[in-house]
Every structure is written in structure tokens, then in C-alpha cells.
């Protein structure tokens, strides 16, 4: 038991260090700006006095390490400063959008993960039949398709032609859960189709791998049905890599929502990030970038920790 906890502690320490390095990088990225932030925002027409005043307001007159720690401290307290574009506090701007993004990612995960694992298991069960081949061809092409292509095809068919779902997913707090789900149906479906392929391929590959081991041979010789072998004997042993790929895909989902949010004009964090990048609203970019990065690092960490816990062979390793 000691082994696992020390491995997990080590991995968590590494994750924590990564987040610190990332926060330094995000901070330094702005430092690397030619001139400084104040000049960049005010443009060339600004008088030296206004630049100086603005610099004071942004606390640019303090040395870098002091500013880094005060920025990080504020960030940890949930105070992200003010947006440059409209002067509003960023915390309010981000909170609601972050919950929207997480809502979209979570709804997608609820649909995509069980479906992908089921299809992957079926493909392993009916290996080398037309079903398996269909699955592998469609996953190969799903990897090659840009997200917005899938999104617009879905809009053209399901929204414009059939009128089933709205092509713009605006959601607000007054809507009931049912209305919200109806609203995010298309982005959810797009993300499902895009993320399905990876989990499905991994599930198929690991199960086929496990099926070649001696204990499965044994089960087969006992005369157990193929479907039962896969569900009761192969699946539990394939669980560790599958959990790993599922959590990694969740990490992908949280980041991959950016494009899909823009297609469906969904009020999420990704949309905010893209808007802020084009407006060069750097405090907002820093804050939302750091949130995305932390979520991503955390989910990657979770994937590793779960893989350690779920894999009996890793447990005995020193």
C-alpha cells in the first residue's frame, strides 16, 4: 500500500510543479511583450503621462517577482483583476462561463464515454467482421475531420433541414434543465462524435490484447460464452488503460470545446478566451488560460493516479 501512496504523492508533486511553471510562463509571456502592456494597449498616440498613469494602475512600476506573487495570490483568492476591454471584474465574467463550459463537457462525457466503451467492446467481440471494419474506418475518418465540419453538417441537417434543434446554443439561468439540454444538443453531439473515436479504438485494442492472455484461454476452454468472457474476464483487466484514455479525453473535451463553442455561439470560457485574444485583453487571456491549463493538468494527473490504482501490476512495482 505504501508503494501506491508514494507513487501518487510523487505524481501529484510533479503536477503541482507543472502548474507553478505554467503560471510563471503565463506571467512571463506578458513580460516578453515589446515595450510593455501599457504601451501596447494605449497605442502610439498615448502621451508619456497617460502611459505612466496607466502603468501605475496596472502596478507595472513594481519589480516582476513582486508582481508575480501578488498576481498569483490574487488568483488563488479568486480575484482575477479587471478586464481591459470593459473594466469589469474578470471573476464575474469567468465564473458563469466556466460553469457553462463544464456543463457542456460533462453532458458530452455522459453520452460519449459509455457509448464509446460499448462500441469498442462490440468491435472487439466481432473482430474482423464488417462491423469491426466499419468502426475502424469511421474512427479513422473521424480523426481527420475538423470539428467545425462535423458541426456545420449537423447544423445543416438537424437544424436547418429538419428543424429539430437550435443552431445557436444560447443558454441562461432562467432555463430549465430540459431546455438547456435541448439547447446544447448539437454542440454536445459534435463533441461526442469527435471524441468517440479515441476511446473506442483504445477500448478495442486493450480488450483484444487481454483476450490473448492465458486466463482467457482457460475461460474459453471451460466453455464460457464469448460475450461473458469479454464482460466478466477481459473488461476488468483492460480497465486501467481504458480509464486512462477516458480521463485524457475529458481533458481534451475541456480544451476542445473552444472551437465548438465558437461555432454554436455558446457562452463558455473558450468563446471568452478567443474573444479576448482578438481584443488582446491580456488579463482575461491570462486568467482563462491559467484555468484551462490547471483543469488540463489536473485531469491528466487524475488519469495517471487512477491508472496506478486500477492496475495491479503497477502496484507491486517500486
Amino acid at each position: 500500500m505504501n508503494n501506491i501512496s508514494s507513487m501518487i504523492a510523487k505524481r501529484m508533486g510533479l503536477g503541482f510543479a507543472t502548474i507553478i511553471v505554467i503560471s510563471v510562463l503565463i506571467f512571463l509571456g506578458v513580460e516578453a511583450l515589446p515595450g510593455d502592456l501599457a504601451e501596447a494597449i494605449l497605442g502610439q498616440q498615448a502621451t508619456p503621462e497617460t502611459v505612466e498613469a496607466f502603468r501605475k494602475e496596472l502596478k507595472l512600476d513594481l519589480p516582476p517577482h513582486v508582481r508575480y506573487f501578488s498576481w498569483l495570490g490574487d488568483f488563488l483568492r479568486g480575484d482575477f483583476g479587471n478586464s481591459l476591454a470593459n473594466g469589469r471584474p474578470i471573476t464575474g465574467l469567468i465564473g458563469w462561463r466556466l460553469s457553462n463550459t463544464l456543463f457542456l463537457a460533462a453532458s458530452t462525457a455522459v453520452v460519449a464515454v459509455p457509448l464509446a466503451i460499448l462500441l469498442g467492446m462490440l468491435a472487439a467481440l466481432y473482430r474482423d467482421t464488417w462491423f469491426d471494419r466499419l468502426v475502424s474506418v469511421s474512427t479513422l475518418s473521424a480523426v481527420s475531420l475538423p470539428e467545425f465540419f462535423v458541426a456545420y453538417v449537423l447544423i445543416a441537417v438537424l437544424s436547418v433541414r429538419l428543424g429539430l434543434f437550435p443552431s445557436i446554443s444560447s443558454i441562461s439561468d432562467e432555463m430549465s434543465l430540459g431546455e438547456k439540454i435541448h439547447g446544447i444538443m448539437l454542440p454536445c453531439l459534435t463533441l461526442t462524435l469527435v471524441s468517440l473515436a479515441h476511446i473506442m479504438r483504445m477500448t478495442r485494442a486493450t480488450i483484444i490484447n487481454v483476450l490473448n492472455s492465458p486466463f482467457i484461454e482457460m475461460a474459453r476452454l471451460k466453455g464460457i460464452r464469448q460475450s461473458r468472457i469479454i464482460i466478466r474476464h477481459a473488461f476488468p483487466n483492460a480497465l486501467s488503460p481504458i480509464i486512462n484514455v477516458v480521463v485524457l479525453n475529458l481533458a481534451y473535451l475541456v480544451v476542445g470545446v473552444v472551437v465548438v463553442e465558437v461555432v454554436f455561439v455558446y457562452p463558455g470560457l473558450g468563446q471568452l478566451l478567443v474573444d479576448s485574444v482578438s481584443k488582446r485583453d491580456i488579463p482575461v487571456v491570462q486568467a482563462s488560460g491559467l484555468i484551462f491549463a490547471c483543469t488540463y493538468v489536473f485531469l491528466n494527473l487524475l488519469a495517471d493516479v487512477l491508472a496506478i490504482i486500477a492496475n495491479p501490476r503497477l502496484r507491486s512495482e517500486t
Binding site: T18, V21, I22, L25, I26, G29, V30, A32, L33, L140, S141, V143, S144, L145, P146, E147, F148, F149, Y152, V153, I155, A156, S159, V160, R161, S167, H198, R201, M202, V245, A251, Y252, V255, G256, V258, V259, V262, V263, L273, V274, S276, V277, S278, R280, I282, V285, Q286, G289, F292, A293, Y296, V297, N300
Partner: protein, 277 residues
């Protein structure tokens, strides 16, 4: 000639892939001769549907869609190719150096790459672009460096395997320098999997710039670019006009073609495709 002989034994899917790639390259190279109009010429009304004058209709400013698609092939493929080439040059050199030198060089390179890969690529790119602004040179350097981390990982792993073989040992004893060992001993032996990887990386880069352009942060108008064209024409879809689907389908067409070829190369080089990203 050897390539032609190889092609004879290739599976059907690889030939289809090759055909799809050649079609794109043809369009890219001979763009000014094939295209019926000039790149930014306004030839009709906004969002005209396809007719005999305009095979694929017109875009949001009344430019010929077919012309824009052909020029888009030229612009987007050139930039993606350039990025992939830079990323491979940097990634392979650093990866091979790390494997051959070992020690602190390996440690330093690998830890830097670990940190860069812990950061989601799209978010990293967006943050850098917000600071440096979007221009084509910045775009090329940023994406190439981000992508070279993946190339570094794979070429380091390949070189590690080759580096312990007898012929490398022999070259060392002969007193050959590091550069000789990298270019003459390791590189030729690492070539087949690297070519397959090149295809996959090209697809990834291509999709990545298309996504950035689609977000309005990549290649800027009026340059024809497939991702940007989807963005510009996205409004048409709600009227049931399929204009934005053409450039999106063109992106899918090219990446599927490259993937089919890369898949064949992977099988030939006898390696199972690594699950990554």
C-alpha cells in the same frame, strides 16, 4: 522507380489516399491556371448558389467559391508544409542529440518538452498569439515549436533504439563525430517511421491552423484560407446555403488522404500507431 514498384504492392486505400493528395498538390501548384477568376476578384452577388458560371457559388463578398478553394489549397498547404518541415528539423535534431549525448542534454531537453506538453497546445498558441499578435511568421514559428515537442519525443525514442546497435558502436570507435552518427547512421534507419509520423503531424498541423483561422486568429483575410473561409461564410448555413461546407470538406478531404497514406506507411514500417495527443 522504387516508389512505383512499392505502389504496385500498395493496398487500395493507400492509392486512394495518394490520389487525393496529388489532386490537392495539383490544385496548389497550378492555382492561377485552373482558377477561373482572380483570388480576390468580386464576380457576383453574395452567396449565389451554384450555377454554370460559378460551380460552387459565391462567398459572403460575392467572390467565386471555386477560385477561392483552389487558392486556399495553395496558401494553407504551403504554410502547413513549412510548419511541419521546421517542426521536424528542430524535433529530429534535438531528439537525436538527446539520445546520442545522453546526460544533462537529454535531461534538459526532455524536462522542457514535458512541461510544454503538459500545456494544452491550443491554449498555449492562443496565449502566445495574444501577446505577439497574429501574423503569418509568428504563426509559423509558434506552431512549429509547439509541434516539435511531439517530434522530439518520437525521434528520441527511435534514436535510443538505434543508438545501441553495433554499427553505431563501430562508427564511434572509428572516431566519427556526432553529426556523422546522427545523419549517416541514425537518420537512415529511423526514416520509415518518421515518414509515417510526418504524415500524421502534417494532418495535425493542418487541422490546427484551420482551427486557428476559423477562430479568426490564424491566416488573415483577404488571403484565401480554408479555415478562414468557413468562418467568413458561416452565416450562410442558417439560410440552408451550403457554402461554408465546401472549404470544410476540402480540409477533411486532404487530411483523410494523408491519413490513408500514413496508415499504409505505418503498417509497412511495422509499428503500431502510438496513441498520443
Amino acid at each position: 522507380m522504387t516508389f512505383l514498384r512499392l505502389l504496385k504492392k500498395s493496398p487500395f486505400s493507400a492509392r486512394v489516399g495518394l490520389g487525393m493528395i496529388l489532386l490537392n498538390i495539383f490544385a496548389a501548384v497550378f492555382a492561377p491556371y485552373i482558377a477561373p477568376h482572380a483570388e480576390t476578384e468580386i464576380v457576383g452577388d453574395v452567396w449565389m448558389t451554384s450555377g454554370e458560371d460559378h460551380v460552387l457559388g459565391t462567398d459572403h463578398l460575392g467572390r467565386d467559391m471555386f477560385t477561392r478553394l483552389i487558392y486556399g489549397a495553395r496558401n494553407t498547404i504551403t504554410i502547413a508544409m513549412l510548419i511541419t518541415l521546421i517542426s521536424f528539423t528542430v524535433g529530429i535534431i534535438l531528439g537525436f542529440l538527446a539520445a546520442v549525448l545522453g546526460g544533462w542534454a537529454d535531461q534538459v531537453f526532455s524536462r522542457v518538452v514535458d512541461i510544454m506538453m503538459a500545456f494544452p497546445t491550443l491554449i498555449f498558441a492562443l496565449m502566445v498569439l495574444s501577446v505577439l499578435g497574429t501574423s503569418v511568421p509568428v504563426l509559423i514559428v509558434v506552431i512549429a515549436l509547439l509541434d516539435s515537442t511531439r517530434v522530439y519525443r518520437i525521434s528520441r525514442a527511435l534514436a535510443m533504439d538505434i543508438e545501441v546497435m553495433e554499427f553505431v558502436e563501430a562508427a564511434r570507435l572509428r572516431g566519427e563525430g556526432i553529426w556523422w552518427i546522427i545523419t549517416q547512421e541514425i537518420l537512415p534507419n529511423a526514416m520509415p517511421p518518421l515518414i509515417a509520423e510526418f504524415g500524421l503531424r502534417f494532418c495535425f498541423v493542418f487541422l490546427f491552423i484551420s482551427a486557428l483561422s476559423f477562430l479568426g486568429l490564424g491566416i488573415q483575410p483577404p488571403t484565401a484560407d480554408w479555415g478562414g473561409m468557413v468562418r467568413e461564410n458561416s452565416g450562410a448555413i442558417t439560410f440552408g446555403i451550403l457554402t461554408p461546407l465546401w472549404p470544410a470538406a476540402a480540409i477533411a478531404f486532404l487530411t483523410i488522404g494523408v491519413n490513408l497514406m500514413a496508415d499504409w506507411f505505418l503498417q509497412r514500417s511495422g509499428r503500431i500507431r502510438q496513441e498520443q495527443e
